[in-house]
Every structure is written in structure tokens, then in C-alpha cells.
């Protein structure tokens, strides 16, 4: 009996991609345990070895995440360690998704080679070409999987390995205090002042 409109959107948002299906199916305990690894990786000075990805695959997927949520004057997917989160997820609870995701990456790289003879890997393309390629392919299931994973890695609890140092939350103005007193925002503050 959880209520209506928002939850419908929540579910629709979560269920639009294949990766989301894996999230829905994965066992909570498994997920927790697996993501502890990403936390260690995020804290470690020396990067841990990749678990599910070849280094060049990790570089490509990391570069895609960095285009989906770029670093500008504020932190993006790189600073949030989205790729560590994704690597370990694919090694464990999201393992059934790994093959599809890597096939999607291969297709993306093949497309790059067709467009620009000599180009071999996404990560090595000039940023302008990376964007061109992603825009051309942003309706593919592969891209939607990557968008889902990137945004979840940016904004979920840091305990899952992404959102390192809460960079995602700080960016949008969410504060994880979980206990507040009014006023909550400008308009109710103003109303209270006016003796609302």
C-alpha cells in the first residue's frame, strides 16, 4: 500500500534498463558485501586490481561515465568513483549483466573504428568525438545501462562505493542530516515570518 504517484515513477525509472532488472533481482546481502570492496577501492591510495574488467574496458566505461556526468568546475563521475562501483558490481551481483554490457562496449568501439579509421577505443578518442559517438547511440540499451549505473553511482549511499565523499549529494544540495526542524525552504521560512 505504499503510495501512488511517486512510487510509480520510482519504479518506472528503475525498471527501464536491463541493469535495473539486475538490481531488482540481486540479493541485498550479496549487494552489500560486494560493494564494500568498492568502498575499499575508493579509500585506497593504490587502485585495487580490476575485478571484472580489463584495464582498457575500465578506461572506456569510466570515460563513458565521465561523459554522462562530467567533471567541470564541480566533481563528476570520476570523483565519485563510479567506475569502481561498476567494476565490482559486474564481478558479483550484476555478473549476469556483464556480458551484455561488454558486448555493448565492443559495438560502441566498433562504431568508433568505422567512423574514424584508426580509432580503437572510446577512452582514447578526443572528447568531441566521444560526445558525438554517445549522442548517436544514446538510445541504445547499452547507453541506458550506463546512464542508470552512473547516476546510481553518483547519488546512492556512499557505503555502496560511489558518491565518494558525498560529492554527488553536495553537488545538488542534498544534506544527509535526516533530522530537520522548520523552516525547510525559503517559502515556508518567508510564510512563517509573515505570520502565516
Amino acid at each position: 500500500m505504499i503510495d501512488d504517484a511517486v512510487s510509480r515513477r520510482v519504479f518506472l525509472a528503475a525498471s527501464t534498463t536491463a541493469l535495473a532488472s539486475a538490481w531488482l533481482a540481486a540479493d541485498a546481502h550479496d549487494l552489500r558485501a560486494s560493494l564494500a570492496h568498492a568502498v575499499r577501492a575508493a579509500r585506497s591510495c593504490d587502485p585495487l586490481p580490476w575485478e571484472s574488467l580489463a584495464p582498457e574496458q575500465a578506461a572506456d566505461l569510466g570515460a563513458i561515465a565521465a561523459q554522462i556526468f562530467p567533471t567541470d568546475e564541480t566533481p563528476g563521475a570520476r570523483e565519485a568513483h563510479v567506475i569502481n562501483f561498476l567494476d565490482h558490481s559486474l564481478a558479483t551481483w550484476a555478473a549476469p549483466q556483464r556480458e551484455d554490457l561488454l558486448r555493448g562496449l565492443d559495438e560502441l568501439n566498433a562504431d568508433a573504428a568505422r567512423r574514424w579509421p584508426g580509432a580503437s577505443r572510446f577512452a582514447l578518442l578526443a572528447p568531441k568525438r566521444q560526445l558525438e559517438l554517445l549522442h548517436a547511440r544514446d538510445q541504445t540499451p547499452f547507453f541506458q545501462q550506463m546512464r542508470f549505473a552512473t547516476l546510481v553511482g553518483m547519488f546512492s549511499l556512499p557505503a555502496y562505493g560511489g558518491n565518494a565523499e558525498k560529492v554527488g549529494w553536495k553537488l545538488i544540495g542534498f544534506e544527509d542530516r535526516y533530522a530537520w526542524q522548520p523552516p525547510f525552504g525559503d517559502y515556508d521560512a518567508e510564510a512563517a515570518k509573515d505570520g502565516h
Binding site: I2, D27, W180, G185
Partner: protein, 550 residues
Amino acid sequence: MRAVRAAVRFRPDTTVDFVVVGSGASGGIVAKQLATAGLSVVVLEQGPRIEPEQFEHDEIKTLFQATLQNPPAGFTFRRTESDPARPGQIQLLYHRLVGGGSVMFTANYWRFREVDFVERSRLGAVSGTGLVDWPIRYRDLERYYTKAEWELGVSGVPGPFDPPRSRPYPLPPLPVKSSGVLFERGARALGLHPQPAPLCILSQPFHGRPACQHCGYCLGFGCEFRAKSSTLYTVIPMAEATGRCEVRPNCYVRKIEVDDRGRATGATYFDENKQEHFQPARAVVLCCNGAETPRLLLLSTSNRFPNGLANSSGLVGKYLMFNGYSTSSGVFERPLNEYKSVMATRVLYDFYESDPRRGFYGGGALDARAFVYPTMFALAGLPQDAPSWGAEYKHMLRDYYTRTMNVDGHSTSLPLETNTISLDPDLKDAWGLPAMRVTYKDHSDDLAMMRFLQDKAIEVLEAAGASRTWRQPVQETTLAAHLLGTCRMGDDPRTSVVDRHHRAHDVRNLFICDGSSLVTGGRGQPTATIQALAYRAGEHIVEFARKGKI
């Protein structure tokens, strides 16, 4: 009211007075009513028992993983009987844990009104639908709404269109949020009548529980402060404190058994290790929700009841209603910070009654809503035509997150005999039982009402000064959180499943009380009515038990 959990554990072969199936919004109340009247009760709950301190603000676990929800692949869906039923086409959203949906719900707590019980006689027939009057009236239920509000703890203040009440709310409304202030501003400019939203959440300490801490995680999350007045930390501890009620978690009931006289004898269930047990009882109460209750009845076939238990009318599982909804958003100049505090603080009921001038049946209400869990907002909070990734998307997300609010519409669903819960002939669940099959097509009037309210929502947002507004397109239902109408109440055994006291017409010692009992679905927030019915049913069942009429 945080009772020490009583140690009563019935021996497995003990015949108790009542077995109650389901511990949610209605089951918790029925169990408490029975146990406090001196009757012995075993409550069988599908899910685990989670204590408040175990609840977390974890979007991944709670919203994506949804380990406490029913598995989305566990049933099939089709729009009409002539379509093939496929898994995963719709999501029925309900929760399996002690306290059920009352733990996770948003806590909107709207009473039904006089009109909800007599709409058929007020409006006349709506062709092709099963719209009928209830066998009871608002006045029959009023004191049970009051009982629920005072025993559970509800915050609010009556507005201009509220139905009559015998007592004020026990607690004042929660503090208004910026969305509520803006909603009021916009609605008043349009000549409408916004009012504080009634919520099953404590605005002040009550019965030993603390007031809401405004953490912002109501919808889909359990309240670690115990400020949301779930049955888990209100009536269930009261039931357990009697020493006559055992709440048994992780028990999945597969059949209500009957003897050769056609009387219910108890429930056969699987424990968490899928071991089968039988709990004998003198009477049975089903409180499993509007989807699981009809399924259990249909699973409970026997020589005497070959079409399912209590189904001589053939109506078990039929007249399924979900409630309509629509959602619209607006962005404002300065921060609202909707991620803080409860989901809705203002509501308006100006469009509650069906109005023939609109050209279609239906009624509903609008409320000012938050949609702000960070991951969810990032995935789906921006306008549909906005960039969905890249630098522009990121910029817009930063810009909109603290400044956006929603106005949502909540509305009627017409009861249609063709909208049903039935058993899938092929798919099996994880226990090898026939999976649930959902057949549901929205009535065109229900969709028209959703669109009508969405238009009004946009007007309110614009009148409030939104710099930009946008809509989630109204479409046929793909996710349902309100599960209503599938064992409808009525006086005639040929056209209803339970009588006005929630007794199954066909089985004297079987009672059914949850969303399935509703004859009409109200305007979008059924929990207060489900719980008022549960108090009323509990009182009647106790009376019957005392008089030997079970």
C-alpha cells in the same frame, strides 16, 4: 506504547480462536481487537519482522532491491482477457513484513465521505461498470475512523469539505513545507480551498512515541523514529502485550482448509525453510490485501469449494481497482528543499465529487508533493524533454533539485468485473504455487479524470509562480499500489463476497477485511478506510464470538 514483546508462542498443534493471515494495515488492527477482547490469535505474516532501528535511508536497498516487496516477476499481466498474460508488464507494489504496507506507506490518511458510499444512487448507473452503493454508510464508519485516528496517531485539521467527525484529530498538522505554501498560494489565487494534509504521522509525541523528525524518507521507507503510525509499533505491540497473540513472521499461507461441513479449520503454510505446517483455528480472518486475499481464496479449492473458497458468487478477484493518479512538476526561483520532512503538507478537495458537467464520471484531489530521493530525482526528476545526460543535464540537475515540487492528482477507479486477480495457468511462484495473474484496463472515464486533475495541477503550479512546469504523461496503469475491491462487501450473496460485517457469505467462520472489501475505491488514499473497516470488523467479530455466532 512500546510494549515488551510478550513471550506467547503457541504450540504448533494448539487450536487457537483465530488465525489472522496478514499483519499489515488491517491485520494488525483485527489481531489487536481480538486479543484485547480475550481471544487467542496467531497472525501469520509472509515477511520478516524488522525492528525500527533496522530501517535505513538506503535508496538502492529499499527502492531498487525492494527485498521487502513482492517480487516483480512473480506474476503475470494482461490488459484484457483476450491478451496473452506476460510476466513483468505491471508492478503491483506491496510489502511483505510485519506491519505490511502500513510500515512503508506515505501515510496520507484521508477519510472517505458520505458520497463514496452512495455514489450509485446519487449519480445513477455508469454503463458497463459495477458501480453500486455500499451496504454501510459513512455514519456507520465514522466512529471507527475516529478510533483509528486516536489509537494510531493521526495529525491534521478539518477543512471546508471534510465529512462530519465526532472528535477532532488527536494531533495538529505537520508543519507546512515550501511546497505547501506555494500550493496554497496558487490554489487560493484560483479560488480553490487548500487545507493541511491529514497524515498518519505524529506531529507531537504521542503514546510514548516521538514526533516526526522530518528526515524526509516516508514513501517506501520504514520510520526508524516510530513517528509514522504503522501497525508495527502501535496495535501489534498492544496485541502482543495481552499474552494471547503470537505474530509469526516468514509464514506463507498456501491454503485455508475446510471440513466436510464447509467450515474453515485453519491455515496451511510454509515456514521460511519451505516446510509445511498447519495452524488449526476456530475461525479465520484474511487481511492479506486486495491482491493476495483473492489469490489465497482461489488457491483454497476443495471438493466442497471447487471454484475457490467463498466464491459461490464467482466474484472473488473481480472488480479490482487501483485508483487513478497523475503527476505534474514545477520549478521555482528559490530553494524549497523538498527532501526534508513528510511527502505532502497541503491537499485540496474541490474536485472530490463527480460532476456531470465534466462529461465523465470521476472525482479526486490534488496535493503538493515531494519527489526528491537523490537517485530517483537524478533518474527521473527533470522534464522529459530536458537533456538526460552530459554537462547540460548536470547543470540542470544542480539547478532544479532543491527548487522543484510536484502537484499530484489522486482519483477514482470504476469497478469493472473484467479487472481481476486470478491464477495464472502456467507460471508458478517460488513455492510452486500458481502465480497471480492481473487483468486490468483503465476505464476511459478514469483516464479522463486523471487528465482533468493534471490540468488543474498545472494551473495551480503556474498560479503559484512556477518558472517552468511539466507533466508526466497520463497513461494506462503500469504500477499499482492500492489493491482494492476484489472481495466486495454486500448484502446479496450473489453479487458480493462478504457481508456488511466482513463475514464470507459462504463460510460462517471466515472473515475477510482489507482493501478487497471496498465496494468503491474512494479518491486515491484508501488506508484510513481500510483501517476503520478493520476496527469495525474486529468489534463485530468479537461480538459474534461472545454470542457463539461463529
